[in-house]
Assembly symmetry: C2
Homo-oligomer: 200 residues x 2
Amino acid sequence: MLLADIGNTRIHIYNGKEVIHLSHKEAIEQYADKKLKYITVKHQLKEQLNSLKNWTDISDQIRIKNEYETMGIDRKALCLSHPNGIFVSAGSAITVDLVEEGVYMGGFLLLGLRAYIEAYATISPALKIELDREIVLDRLPVGTREGISYGILNSIKTIIDKHKNRKQLYITGGDGKFLSSFFEEAIFDERLIFLGMQRS
Amino acid sequence: MLLADIGNTRIHIYNGKEVIHLSHKEAIEQYADKKLKYITVKHQLKEQLNSLKNWTDISDQIRIKNEYETMGIDRKALCLSHPNGIFVSAGSAITVDLVEEGVYMGGFLLLGLRAYIEAYATISPALKIELDREIVLDRLPVGTREGISYGILNSIKTIIDKHKNRKQLYITGGDGKFLSSFFEEAIFDERLIFLGMQRS
């Protein structure tokens, strides 16, 4: 059975082996006649998705103990992937959630890397930079581009580290692989949301 | 002698007792015939400021050992206010700088509180919230508004705490008083930049 995670900008499809990332249009064109179960946060697509007879919305089945009402369905699925851990999804926003014995313990939202960079540029043209992806976080930087890159990446790293304690850190999402390079013993796996869907 | 710090949106004037915050237009109208020394980051105003015969640009005198070329003049003045410490200016952006024995040791830039809030809203209408200024940072929140407010304020607090060690924390800027409430033993003083100007 194919599984799909329909996000704000893309549809991610898991065929049991790999995750395929497509635009909404591409995914619907290529997969309309395939049997597929999906979750979606893209409410504007609801009617179009309902018209696809082979596609089944399983969003209502995705529940985690202690969830809150407006909690994103993709976050719930991610938190269901393993019974214990701290779960990071690094996309348009970066969500950080804690799960203990299958119970949702709370979490918080940071900006996604692109949103950070674009927000600095709105403050002043002098702060319009490209992220320095080679920045070293164990010494204080000098310079604007370095200072912004360090501020973004180290504030993300530091607050995640603070909540990690001895828990396993699981990371997914488009910027997940890059972010996981800043943590020792992090598990990056782009299938986590699908594992959660399978387990629900 | 009056001192002025000309920022991107306002002019801050120090009369030796208190700091007065005015729009560019208001400040120029009310203070054009007063003797005044200023620093400025607002390059678009340069010609108009030069035409004020009682106003003297002392930006060239503001230098700190180990400064970098594009370092903002207000940051330099702030770092000159005390020979040792960690200096936070919480305005449109939040700058965090370390000074040891009068030497600039580096620093980084975070988004200002308003820039954070506006950036979340650009990601999704579901993330458009007002900052919860009563948020408690010692327990993990549940909910969107709480999760965003916690993410903003605790990522700022945690990375500043990480760099504080046993140094004195000095805070200034429009959001400085509010931010200082999250730190024990922080000194909030809106005169810091002017103390730096006096000492240069």
